[in-house]
């Protein structure tokens, strides 16, 4: 049984929908409420490692943001996809399970205006000190000069 099938078995309880976008990849749609449980299931089984957290903005019309948690085990990539509304965008921090996720969460928060509640250090990581509040550079409706 390959790594992605194992992950699928661990996560059945927490995942709403599965897709296989490419060879060696599996995407799992997870609600914000189930995110921690899903990460915990991976962590309990020591499945792979968190490689990155990607933010995606579907645009003003769609009204949603997506947060992608990419886990890798050898060539296999499992992505937990969490869809949240653009207004009051928030996801729970996964730092209690994966401490080094902190830097990824700080980047996500400042670039997309997503509140990562419970993250140990919510300060800015990349943006300058004088960057205006409420301007999130990687949102699609933010135009930069």
């Amino acid at each position: 049984m390959n790594a992605l099938q194992q992950a699928q078995d661990m996560l059945t309880e927490w995942v709403e929908a599965w897709t296989e976008p490419e060879e060696n990849r599996l995407d799992a749609q997870v609600t914000p409420a189930n995110l921690l449980s899903a990460v915990k299931a991976l962590d309990d089984h020591a499945w792979g490692y968190l490689v990155a957290i990607t933010g995606l903005d579907a645009g003003v019309e769609a009204g949603t943001l997506e947060v992608l948690y990419h886990f890798c085990a050898g060539p296999a990539v499992l992505t937990l996809r969490v869809t949240i509304p653009r207004e009051q965008a928030a996801v729970p921090s996964i730092c209690t399970l994966i401490p080094y996720a902190g830097v990824f969460e700080r980047e996500l928060a400042e670039m997309f205006g997503i509140e990562v509640y419970g993250t140990p250090d919510p300060s800015r990581l990349f943006l300058p000190d004088d960057w205006p509040e409420g301007v999130y550079p990687l949102r699609k409706d933010t135009e930069l000069d």
């Binding site: 990849r25 968190l50 990419h70 080094y100 830097v103 980047e107 990581l125």
Partner: protein, 392 residues
Amino acid sequence: MPEERFSIPIGPQHPALKEPGHFVFTVDGEVVTGASVRLGYAHRGIEKATEGRNWVQNLYLLERICGICSHIHATAYCLGVEKLAGVTAPPRAQAIRVLVAELERIHSHLLWLGVAAHQAGFDTLFMYSWRDRETVMEMLERLTGNRVNYSANILGGVKFDVTEPAMDAIRHGLRFLEERTSHYVDVVREDRLFLQRTEGVGVMTRAQAERLGVTGPTARASGVPRDLRVDAPYAAYGDYTPRIVTETAGDLKARFIVRLNELSETYQLIRTLLDNLPEGELKTRMPRRIAAGETISRVEAPRGELFYFIKSEGGEQPARIKVRTPTLSNMDSVVRLAIGHQLADMPMLLAGIDPCFSCNDRLTTVQTGDETRLWTWEALRQYGIDYYREKV
């Protein structure tokens, strides 16, 4: 008496290598009790900028994320975009990508060896290793016309071929580098003064390395056998597979040995590649619009795993490009490993992960109370050297 903490901000103009960063260390006497990091002083908004440029323009933009490992960024991007477009670059092009990537690894590791030696006050090693680095810079210049930002890739292939005389020049240079590298392995294993700065310093066990999410040589020095060239071969690594080099000690010494031993593997890989370079085309046609979809491209940069997420909506420009560089993954380990170490060890600890940081260097020491002192990075480096000299 209330508990007083000394906070020592280091940076943002400073640390060991490329790019500025800002660290705040809290200390109790000489011992670091806490640390935090603030980055972004060289943040240029490249991810956002990619959304306003076409697929070809972005190649040149992404290549400029890093001056040292420009080729690996371009390779990760090209492989990802080609995957979305359903195009595969010809075998000779893939092999040339590997060749340049491995020459870049030599360049990067030798540069690191020099900088790390300098942080330890071992400037003779710094100067010799940088002299030797010229050898690989000349190979790269001969192949690509550039010493940095080689611009070897295009979407669908590579720009140039490798001629027989160029191959001979590379083989010749490798013989020299191999001899030098084996000498450096002896130095970092045996030089007593140098060992004082590296042996048992910044120890990270395998379990810690896995918990801290470190990558590349930093992880391999703690016995984590992870290398994407082997685990998930891309470009032509399926045909030219290196051995994964690991050490178990997990200290700074192990990080030196791993990088140097990786160089030896790389020399071997390049020789095999030159002897077996497939014939054929250098490029294939790429569409101007890239089919809608999302892809992930992962490559082994000199510093560790480099991760690209690329999303296309079918147009001439990408919808999103996400880049996760190895330094970001390794940064957290510095902050955590710093705790319990001597302040004097900080320059070496930071250099140990081979961070991408700038070398223009100012460092401020602010003490609680009224007194404020200013230190330069140079002063902290000297402080580290003097501190250990007194202990001899």
